[in-house]
Structures are given as C-alpha cells and as structure tokens.
C-alpha cells in the first residue's frame, strides 16, 4: 500500500515521516516515533488510554489516522514532563495520591487531566468525575485518580 509523506510536530520537535493512509496516529507515534507511552487498550475509542493532545485538544489517537495530523502539533505523555526528569503537576499529584496501579491506562489519564484542568482549573467533584468518564481504569476504582485531580487543581490554584 502506498505511503504518504507526513510532517507534524511531536512534543515540540519537527517530525517528517511516511505512513500508509490507514495507519493510525497511535501506531505512527509508537512504531515510527518510538513514543511507547501512548497505549492502546481498546482501539475503538472508548477507553482513552491512547489520548494525546492535538493542537492542545485531547483526542484519541486510535481513532485518527496519522495523515490527519499533518501540520499539527501533537503532545504525548512523554512531552508533558520537564526534560530535567521532574514530574508535571498532574503527574506529581497522581504519584502523591496513589492514582495508578498497573500504569497502563495512566498516560491517557495524565494527558486527559492535563487538558481538562487547562479548560477548567477549578472543577467541582462532579465535574472531575464527568471529566474523567472518558477514560477507563481497571485497577484503582478511580479513588486515587479523583483525589489526584483535586490535588492538581489545588496545586495550580
């Protein structure tokens, strides 16, 4: 199958790649970009594990083709933490509040919550739960995750 040229920005770096038209953005990031922090857990747009920021908006990279990201700015979980090895406020809050166990859904939650708190920096509990409802976690029962979002909102207030 023919490959198509793609130019985009990933985590602030220009990327020039080639991919079949049917290749998902998630597969492109993972296989061609080596950014394996973006996880695939359903590949049909429900679980949110593959969430990345596309021009600042949280999107499901399993539902986008790589070619659809042409000219866009993509941020993956790897691009959220400072290069000095410290954690972002959201990541720090997840660590502090035991917001993860197996960690497989975690990058999707971290990216989603980052976008959510940018949009709504002072959410109510109900808004937090609603905001998290597009991401599935099977380990934590969401208890530590909800606490982490509250804490991250407080920390940046």
């Amino acid at each position: 199958m023919d490959e198509i040229d793609i130019r985009l920005s990933v985590n602030g770096e220009p990327v020039h790649g080639r991919a079949e038209a049917r290749k998902t953005l998630a597969d492109f990031l993972r296989e061609d970009g080596g950014l394996t922090g973006t996880h695939l857990a359903c590949e049909h747009g429900v679980c949110g594990a593959c969430t990345v920021l596309l021009d600042g908006e949280a999107v499901r990279s399993c539902l986008l083709f790589a070619v659809q990201a042409e000219g866009s700015e993509v941020t993956t979980v790897e691009g959220l933490s400072p290069p000095d090895g410290t954690l972002s406020p959201v990541q720090e809050a997840f660590w502090e509040n035991h917001g993860l166990q197996c960690g497989f859904c975690t990058p999707g939650f971290v990216v989603s919550v980052t976008a959510f708190l940018r949009r709504n920096p002072d959410p109510t509990d109900e808004e937090i739960r609603e905001g998290l409802s597009g991401n599935l976690c099977r380990c934590t029962g969401y208890q530590g995750i909800v606490r982490a979002v509250r804490a991250a909102a407080r920390a940046s207030a």
């Binding site: 394996t36 996880h39 993956t76 197996c102 859904c105 990058p107 599935l136 208890q143 530590g144």
Partner: protein, 792 residues
Amino acid sequence: MTESPQRAAPSAPAAPATGATGAPSAIGRLVGQRVRRKEDPRLLTGHGRYLDDVVLPGMLHAHFLRSDVARARITRIDTTAARAAEGVVAVLTAADLNPHLVGDMHGTLSPDNPGPLLPLAEHDVRHVGDPVALIVASNRYLAEDAAELVEVEYETLPPVVDMEQALSSDDIVVHAELSDNLCSRMEEPIDDELRRIFDTAPYVITETVLQHRYLPVPMETRGVIAVWDRHTGQLEIRISTQSPHDVRTTAGRITGVPEHQIRVIMGDVGGGFGQKAYVARDEQVVILAAHKLGRAVKWVEDRHENLVAATHSRTERVTVTLAADESGQLLGAHIDHLDDAGAYPVMGSGGAGAFVVMMFSGPYRLPKLAYRTTSVYTNTCTRAPYRGPWQAETLAREQVMDVLAHRIGIDPVELRRRNVVHRSELPYTMPGGMPIAEVSPEETLDQAMTMIDHPGFRVEQARALDTGRCLGLGIGLYIEPQPGMGPYGSEPAQIRMQPDGHVAVYLGSGSHGQGLETTTAQIVAEHLGIEPEDVSVHQGDTDATPYAFGTGGSRSGPILGAAVRQTALVAREKILAIAAHLLEASPDDLDIDGGVIAVAGTPAISVSLAQVAMTAYLNPAGLPPGMDAGLDFSSRYQAPPFMFSNACHACTVEVDPVTGTVTILRYVVSEDCGVMINPNIVEGQIDGGVVQGIGGVLYEHFVYDGDGNPLTTTFLDYLLPTAAEVPEIEHGHIETPAMTPGGYKGVGEGGAIGAPAAVVNAVADALRALGVESLSQPLGPARIVAAIEAAR
C-alpha cells in the same frame, strides 16, 4: 506520603488496632507507612516497558483467525491466497502447527482429568473465538489483511450455550471425545443428622442465587513475543504474565526445550486479575509458532479478542438450603453449585467449586454442611480464575442471610451478630474441616456498621420511604483464604548488598500493578536501616530470579512479604556481626539507622553500611574468623496451608423505582489484612476490587445469544464502570497480625469478593418495601423495573 482523606477515623471502641494477643501494632519506620511507589515516575511519564513496547530485530507479527461459529465441523481450509499475500511469512493451521506440540498444554495447576486441548482447532471448532489459523507477517496490518484471504468452510452444528442445558443434554456434547458435558463434580450428600435438621428446624429456606458471566478485563490485553534461536538452542519469551517461571515450565513442556535454555522476561504488566496467572492456549500457539519458524514472533491481543476469546468468569448458579433455630442461629446448610467451564477450562475450574463449598460458612458458626458442586462444558469461551474465583460462596451466603433475617423478622445486621464467630471462639473449625484463626469478622462488622451509621440509616430509610424513595443497605461479610499449599506454598527472595552498601532484591514473583517494588523495598529498608530509594527490586526475568509460582491467590503480601522479611533479617544479622567485629562491640548493642551502624547511645562509635560491604567483598581478612565473604542472601519461605484475611463491606443505595437506576450513596469497607505494609496499596487493592464487583453487579455482562454468538464484543456493549458511576470508598482498618513472619495477610482479591454481595443486598433491601422478593444479577435498569412490575 499522604493521609488519605478517605481513611476512616478510628471509629468503634470495639475495633482494636492490635491483635488478639494484645501485641502492639507493627507500624514501623517504613512498614505501615504510606510510602510513595517506586514504580510511579516511569509509569506516569510514559516510560513503562509493557509487552507491546518491545521491538526485536527481525520480529514478525502474528494474528489469529478465529471461529465465528460456536460449534461446527471444519470441512475445508484453503490458505493458498493468504500465503501469497504481501508480507506473509507463514499461515499455520492445525495441520501445520499441532504436530509440533510435544507435551501437555494444560496448566501446572490443572485438575487431574483436564478436557481435550490442542494448539489450533483441528477438525472442529467448539466456541466462537476458537483459534483456527495463525497468520505471521512482517507487520500486523498485513497479517490481518491476509486473514481475510483464508477460506474456511464449516458444517455448523447445534451448540450447547447454557450450563443447565449442558448438564441435561445427552445429544449435544461439547467434546466429541467425551460421553457427556460433565467437567467435574464433588459431593458430600445430606446425612441423617442434616436431614433431621432440615425436617425439624423452625426455619428452613431454599434460595437460588445466579451469577452472570463477567470478565477480568485487564487494561493491557494479553501478549507475547517468542524468539527461538536454533543455533544456540535458546528460547526467549517476553510475555504479559503473572507467572514468568510457570511460563518457562510450560514452554519447556510444549516445545521440548529444556528449561535452562529458556529465558522468560515480563516487563511492566498492565493488570491481570487472574487472566494472566497461567499460560493460555493462544500464547502457547505463538511460542510453538516461533519455535517452528525459528523467528521472533510477536502477538498482541486486541480488545475484541480479549473480550471474546481470552477468558471468562463467574457464570454460576448456587442453590442454598439453610436451616436456623428460633433465634436465627444457623443449624445446617446444603449448597448445590453449578458453574460453566466453557469449552476449554484452565487451571482448576472444578477447583473453584471446591473453594466455594469449603468457604461457604465464611464468618459464621455453621454446625453442618452438605454440598454438591458441578462444572460443565459449554460451547462458550474458556472459564478461568478471576479475582476471588470462589466468591460465589459470599454472594450466595450473604444473600441467603438477608432472606433468612426477613423470614425471622429481624434486621440482617442482627442476624449476622447472632451468628458471627467471636474472637474467643478462634480457632474455629468450619464445617468443611478448615480451621480459621487470626480473623476478626465481628470487629469488622461492628466497625463497618458504626462507619455507615446503621441505626441512623434505618431511620433515614423509613423516612425516605414515606416520600416514595427507595433506599437500601447491603452487607458482604466474608473470610478470604490465601492458599499456601502446593506450588503456591513457597516463595523465595534474594538480597544482595552491593559493595557500596546499596541493596538489590531479586523476586521470583512479579508485580502486575500491586506495587511489589515498593512494598519489598519498604520491608528491606526497614530492617537494614536504609531508605526505599537505596533498594532496587528486580522481578520477572527467569535468568536473574529464583523460581516462584507467581502472583495469585492474594499470596504476594503474606508469602512473598514473609520471604523478603526473613531474608532481610538474615542479612541484618550478618551485617551486624561484621560491624560488631569492626567496632569491637557486641552485635546486640548495635543498631542501623540512615545507612550507619552505631553502638546504641554512643553514635561516635560507628561504621557505615558501605564500609561493612566493602569489607565483606574486598577485605575478607577483616571479617570475623570463619565468616564467609560477601553479602548475598537467599532464602525460601514455606507458608502454612492456609492464611485468612477478612472484611465487612457495607453500602447504601437509592433505587429509582421508575427508571430502575441504582445510585450508590455510601460504600464502606472495614478490612483486616493483618499488618499493613503500605496502607495506600492496601486501600488501592480494595478499591479496585470493589469497583470490579460494583461493575459486575450493575454494568458488566458478557452475553451470548442462543446460537453461541457473543453480543458484547466492544466496550460500547460490555460496560465497565467509569469515575462518573463509582462512589467514594471509605476505609476502616482492623489489624490482627497473621502468625506468619511480619504478620502480613493477603488483600488482593477481597474487594471483588465482598462487593457483589453488598450491592445486591442493598438493592434488594431498597426494593423489599415494593414487594420484590428475589433479584438476580446483573442488576441493570431493565431487570430492576421488571422485578418491580412483577411484584405489583
């Protein structure tokens, strides 16, 4: 280190923070503290290393072609076009692959007479999802393309989909090699004494409790990469598993490669919940294919496969007959348990039934018990263990206790108080012969009822009913066993203090989310006077670690924790002996703190761990006479046959009688898992299990139609709970140390054991005022509305 806002304040005076012996609580400098997890920074930043993240040179990608019919003869398979397709390296059918199998595919813990099992379906298929061919290609997209070119013709046959039908069916047999669909059966018939009890007791009730089909659903699906190097004779397997050493044993058995030539590596594992506790058929097929092809082959299951063809769970019917005297004291019971083993049950499907009957009396005094437990084959997906595989005992017992309470006319809490085993009665021998000890069911019941304000809730419930609102309270009180027999009984730990005084620990078991890197480092650092940061924990590589059976049965806390602790204490003893020699002091006068060993009360007389370690490795002449050089330690802990933890779950719900919607108002867990190593991790394990139980009762339901076609094959149909549906979970802790080293007990499965009973009972309690007598899962809105209408 955080103080969780959910943690309940020490509430009931009846809730001692100490054990039966009155020993002080074992909270230490690190053990018992809410230490942040060592695993988290890499997982939070996208730098975990899961199976699908691994890319090996020359690696091929595999895709399964699976049966889309439940029962059929395969009349023709033509792979010509698929073999010629772009990128395809091999298309393997049973004719190609099955002769390559040299040993038994059944798991190490399988029952004595496991049913038929082959790598790929041969001659016929027995459930939707049965693997028919494996396509191996240069990438996954091309492998899936080629699968569409494989031509398979089936002569379809009527399937048996329902377990009751399987039991009675003579003409439709899942496995043609067998005469019927009976997978296993155990029976202890009603004797004269129990018959007399049933004939004469003031209260005798019979209730049937159904548990529908729901699934483990780890967020990371299954996956494996196998590489066979025929020049070195080495088989390397990377796999998402709970049991790397058992993968090695199984791989050796099926390929004939001796185990010293097999290396199994598990990286980070994205949840298991039992589904990855053994090497299932699909992973074995990929290992055989790599061995046959001499190439690196990767297979990562997609979600559709995981739902349809990985493993299924629950799917049980329990009929309980329970007798009680005038005051509600239990006199005797009979249970008839039936479970659906699917087509190819793994790892002791019949064994789940044995635990159901053994644990049936749970926290209550029950003088007499008879039982029958039956497991049947059906043309459905494999049944396999899932978090608390025997939890039907709690689900059934706790529902029947509520029915009995209402028959007698007392509060279900009062009935439980009259029957619960008191601490003074321990050890108490259950009617199945199993003695329970070091448990606190009465204390957890009292603590949970205080936390949820049971009397206050009854007032609120009555008041709400006056305005047409239906509130209910449900309880799940249980004892959770941790098996320590057979391969589950022993666990190793190796500790190496390096020459610079830092410590590396090697575990045979590995974590799939439980935070074993953290809890292990806490225990070791506690006893060696260092910080968790000074300890690295290595797991999941069979070339580096000693043999262990893996995680399962909530065994990592009590058995692995004990192994780590006893090894750390041996290390401490030698470290202190060396330090004593260097300091010309008595070891009894020394303590380790902050990596420095000093004479108690005289901190100036000290030596660092690094100096001790350097001496041990580089200057053996500086050691006490006769002492071996080095600071590497290995020991294996042998557990008692059973250990027990316990808990009481209680929740309150509101049911909307018009829409059938259930809202959980409060959810409380009072739990006793002995000495807590890390309360964050304890509560996290409970929370995850509770939400799986809530999901199982209210949302999750894997459905087959009458022809055995799966209907819930995506997350749009198979509904997992989200943050928007689940309540805040409130925790209370009772700490009764186990008799095992460290006093730790298991806590991994309990949440999923107690929650279904608590939720079903709460909904039933809410609907009782509307005349609803019986309810069965799943409790979706339609079923609740139907139950209300039927009661009118």
